[in-house]
Symmetry: C2
């Protein structure tokens, strides 16, 4: 492991925080970890809003005080600054394909699970969308999210039937986001790939064998 | 202008296509343009699905046939492959901040406008979410989108009151996405920044003076 002068504000239970923790483990980097207690609303505190106006975790703070929010921005910063164990391949074409596939995992998978939770959980009433503004829950969005997540598993199985990893022949940032999404769906909505989704199972077993999985 | 061996599948009226056309204009690149007729449903054709399984425009196709979808992936590919007139700054830190701010413009602005349209327009009935699966419109999402877009203008004005451009002191990909979002909101939802949003007005006038604005 290589130690850095970076600080990560995160929450142990937050799946977006987990995406970054897995990236750090894959790249064998250690950072100073500062927990943000979401249940206590620490993300709405003045001090946290000063580094993240969207009031979401995680945020990476550099030695000069620059605060970087949004997981793809944090991941990309880490990958460029510490090139060992690349998570976006080696060429502009590789990198574009990883960005594309990670985004599809986010839009069709991660965001669908998150929408389900935010429109269902009692503790998130009035907080159906992350950020500085309050929005009421819409119960039909929970039902729609369940259908979206089921469709996500169908599409993921189709993709992994044609490709060893999500973005191609190598493990990448897209696999990290997909893997966190699968666990997030199972742990919160109780939804998993069907037994006939062999490609998802093969891939999940493969990525679960990596040491970063405990992050 | 520099000519390339790239092909862009796009739609003249699509705001996501416009984001890429403005990037191309800023970088003074010409590509082969192939229109996809969304009104006729060409995005659902077998040939288009072969290059974009999410059935959305735009898609950039490289000389070797590699198809790159999703605007941030296309933009990043173009910026890395053709370094003149950079749209992500010069350092890993600059790039992370542009990715972060562009994503905030997308999540809180562009996506909110799109959600409003998709849940309102007659021709998009059953197509409330882009992609291979059909989802019914939810009328309350249209109402919510209007509130979200109004909040977006408040937040954008606050940001531009502290920064010349969206991601900092230089024009970047984040300004392109924000500018397309502002026009998209005006043209489809009839929503604009309030007269008291002076910072938005100052910035909009500045980015409108660029020659790429016609793209």
């Amino acid at each position: 492991m290589s130690s850095t002068n970076l600080t990560l504000y995160h929450s142990p239970a937050s799946p977006n925080s987990r995406r970054v923790r897995i990236v750090l483990a894959e790249k064998e980097l250690t950072v100073k970890l500062i927990p943000v207690d979401l249940a206590k609303g620490e993300q709405h505190s003045e001090s946290y809003r000063a580094i993240n106006p969207r009031r979401v975790v995680p945020t990476l703070v550099l030695e000069d005080g620059t605060a970087i929010g949004e997981v793809p921005a944090i991941t990309r910063y880490l990958d460029e600054t510490f090139p060992a164990n690349p998570l976006f391949g080696a060429t502009p074409k590789d990198r574009a394909l990883v960005i594309m596939w990670e985004r599809r995992m986010e839009l069709d998978g991660f965001a669908a699970v998150m929408e389900g939770i935010r429109n269902k959980v009692e503790g998130l009433k009035g907080r159906a969308i992350a950020g500085p503004h309050d929005y009421d829950q819409i119960p039909s969005l929970f039902e729609r999210s369940v259908r979206r997540v089921k469709n996500f598993f169908v599409d993921l199985n189709e993709r992994l039937g044609r490709s060893p990893y999500v973005a191609g022949k190598d493990f990448s940032a897209a696999d990290i986001t997909a893997r966190v999404t699968v666990d997030f769906a199972a742990n919160t909505l109780g939804l998993s790939a069907s037994p006939e989704h062999n490609a998802v199972k093969r891939w999940y077993d493969s990525v679960s064998g990596r040491s970063s999985t405990a992050a």
